[in-house]
Amino acid sequence: MSNLKLIIKREFIARVRNKTFVIMTFLSPMIFVGMISLIAWLATLNNDEVRKIAFFDETGKFESDFKDTDHIDYINYSKLPLNDAKDSVVINKMYGLLYIPNKQTNNELASAIQFYAEEAPSISILNNIESIIATKLTNQNIKEKGLDLDVIKNSRAKVRIQIENFYGEKTSKMTNYVKMFFGGAAGYLLMMFIIIYGNMVMRSVIEEKSNRIIEIIISSVKPLQLMMGKILGTSLAGISQFIIWVILGGVLVTVATAVLGIDTTVTATGFGSSIQAVEETQGETIASATALVLEIQKLPLGVLLLSFLIYFVGGYFLYSSIYAAIGAAVDSETDSQQFMLPIILPLVLGIYVGFFSVIENPHGTISMVFSMIPLTSPIVMLMRIPFGVPWWEVLISIFLLLGSIIFMVWLAGKIYRVGILMYGKKPSYKELFKWLRY
């Protein structure tokens, strides 16, 4: 077996056997699924609560319009004197009292309605009440003006713009949300992966240094070989952990939904419900889980997967070689803090550019530039790709990334080679620069 293979194997086994690693591998999906279940459960709890709202209607027009819903029970207090009604609401701990005074015109009435409550009422309840009253008053106004309500209803036009690109692919707003979700998830995932496993590479370098085994090993293998073996072995461990997470997470979600009877459209696709919310405010309730699946199937999944792999591996290599160099330069993990900025800064920048610029304008100058700069390109490009990026842009970006990986591995290798044999020094950036010439 070649030395590189031996090193990869050892690193992989060392990572995988680590207790924290094992615990994290099996516990994280459980915690994750548990949290989702908990949130879903709490949401249903909240929804089950039925609120009692009393109304005091001096006009007598609205009695029949306040119909009980799943969440609100309306109680008519119009026959009581107003003060008694208020007292009764307080004593019975009702949610609030809606007061509709008698006014001359509908317009006066519209701004004179009051809601008495102990605490500020929830927006959704207020919206609900407002829309009931508004519909009633609008309809009355229309009638008073002598117009036919049905005619107006029938002549209302519904507009849904169909988006189509020049290659004939049809999209909709929903597709954009789906793309945003996929791009964002991929970029975020990559950042987490880099931070978690890059740190592992760094710790493993520091471990060899503080164990003093390093000189024994590099009398047998080249430092660059050792560094590459470390990066590869750790990433293999990371990928295995990742696969276990996906499988275990999938199984757990299925089990949890089956056992607890939680509505999958709320839990598994929390994202779907947020689309629903967005669409609902526009008066359209079309987004269902099936529609979502259809939209996902419309995405070029093959291309997405391939580019995800390329940028994932590329980004990881670029950053973990920096992590390895940092590990070699310091004696302990606490000392590594001063060198973390060049890693964290571009990562965070990539995420910010991604969430603020790419989603707003995936092909704008900022998105374009940051998807070319190697340190941010893996994250930003991953976020852009679902929106369709010209192949030559992707190609340039990948070449730039490859070039900088080679450069960075070379650079890190130089620092690594010198650093692993330096004990008891806390080097500055200036010294690291000097090491390059040793």
Partner: protein
């Protein structure tokens, strides 16, 4: 005797700091070669260059009449001064791993490891983690890993540090045994008594330069000062002393004796032979002791370094 290792005119600089300057050494096949020098002289850098951990800026290193190349790694066994093992890995596993990195097959490595583990009576350690072993125990494992692939050249940097006297002796015997089986040993240490005991060749490095090298016996000859320690029984000691002081340079000596002797250290000028001194002494006193003062490596070390300052 041919040389197994030749270092020719090697220089190495780290930035503005010069670690080695035109250093050449020749290590004869089958010798035990002491690489000596004060702290920071450049010994470790030289050893790292021989191990191809560091590349020299100038000069070449030849092993077995070939310029040093990648394959030579298998011919060298190196026990560094800063040494350790993976704390959370099992003893057997990491010994296997390190042996395989030196090019042994898994099967060979296991066989040879079993041989050494049995020899040192440590087979029960196989499944233990290093963190469960003491420092001395871990050093034994490191020694085994260093010699396991039967290298032509063994390099030990402070091999006895961390060992108790009994285990240090075990290791010393093993080193001698390996030499008897044909290995050449380079030995870097500050313990002059072990150099005295083991080495047949030495090189002395100070401040990045080699200032002395050669066969130990040759060096000692070079450093002999024609001084003799003498123990006498004389009837008139004071008279004799005055007499001797007129002819030779005399200093008081200190060694253990049975009788109440007259102890002297006499240095002869190159023209006078020891026999002449002996004859003149025998006329005046009973000679109980007469031996040449042989310079110890320790004295040579200190003398050379101080002269070099």
């Amino acid at each position: 005797m041919s040389n197994l290792l030749e270092v020719r005119q090697v220089s190495k600089r780290f930035g503005a700091f010069t670690a080695l300057q035109n250093v050449s050494i020749e290590v004869p096949k089958g010798s035990i070669f002491g690489l000596l020098g004060p702290n920071g002289a450049g010994k470790t850098t030289l050893i790292r260059i021989i191990n191809q951990i560091t590349q020299p800026d100038e000069g070449t290193v030849w092993l077995d009449h070939q310029p040093l190349h990648q394959e030579h790694i298998k011919d060298i066994g190196y026990l560094p001064e800063e040494r350790g093992l993976y704390k959370s890995m099992k003893v057997g596993e990491q010994a296997l791993y390190l042996a395989q990195l030196k090019g042994l097959s898994k099967k060979d490595a296991k066989e040879r490891l079993m041989y050494w583990f049995e020899k040192f009576e440590i087979t029960s350690w196989w499944n233990k983690k290093i963190q469960e072993l003491s420092k001395g125990m871990a050093q034994k494992v490191q020694f085994i890993v260093t010699v396991l692939h039967r290298p032509k050249l063994l390099i030990f940097d402070e091999p006895f540090s961390g060992f108790d006297p009994i285990n240090a002796n075990v290791i010393k015997d093993e080193i001698l045994q390996l030499r008897a089986e044909g290995a050449t040993v380079i030995f870097s240490t500050h313990r002059m008594e072990s150099v005295e005991e083991l080495c047949d060749h030495i090189a002395l490095i100070n401040k990045s330069k080699k200032i002395l090298d050669g066969k130990v016996s040759d060096i000692k000859k070079e450093f002999r000062s024609n001084t003799f320690e003498i123990g006498l029984l004389a009837e008139h000691p004071s008279e004799l002393l005055t007499n001797l002081k007129q002819r030779y340079s005399v200093a008081p000596a200190d060694f253990k004796t049975i009788d109440d002797q007259f102890k002297l250290k006499i240095t002869l000028d190159p023209k006078t032979s020891s026999n002449q001194l002996l004859t003149s002494l025998s006329e005046k006193a009973q000679i109980l002791r007469f031996n040449e003062v042989i310079p110890s490596i320790n004295e040579i070390f200190i003398k050379t370094i101080t002269a070099n300052e």
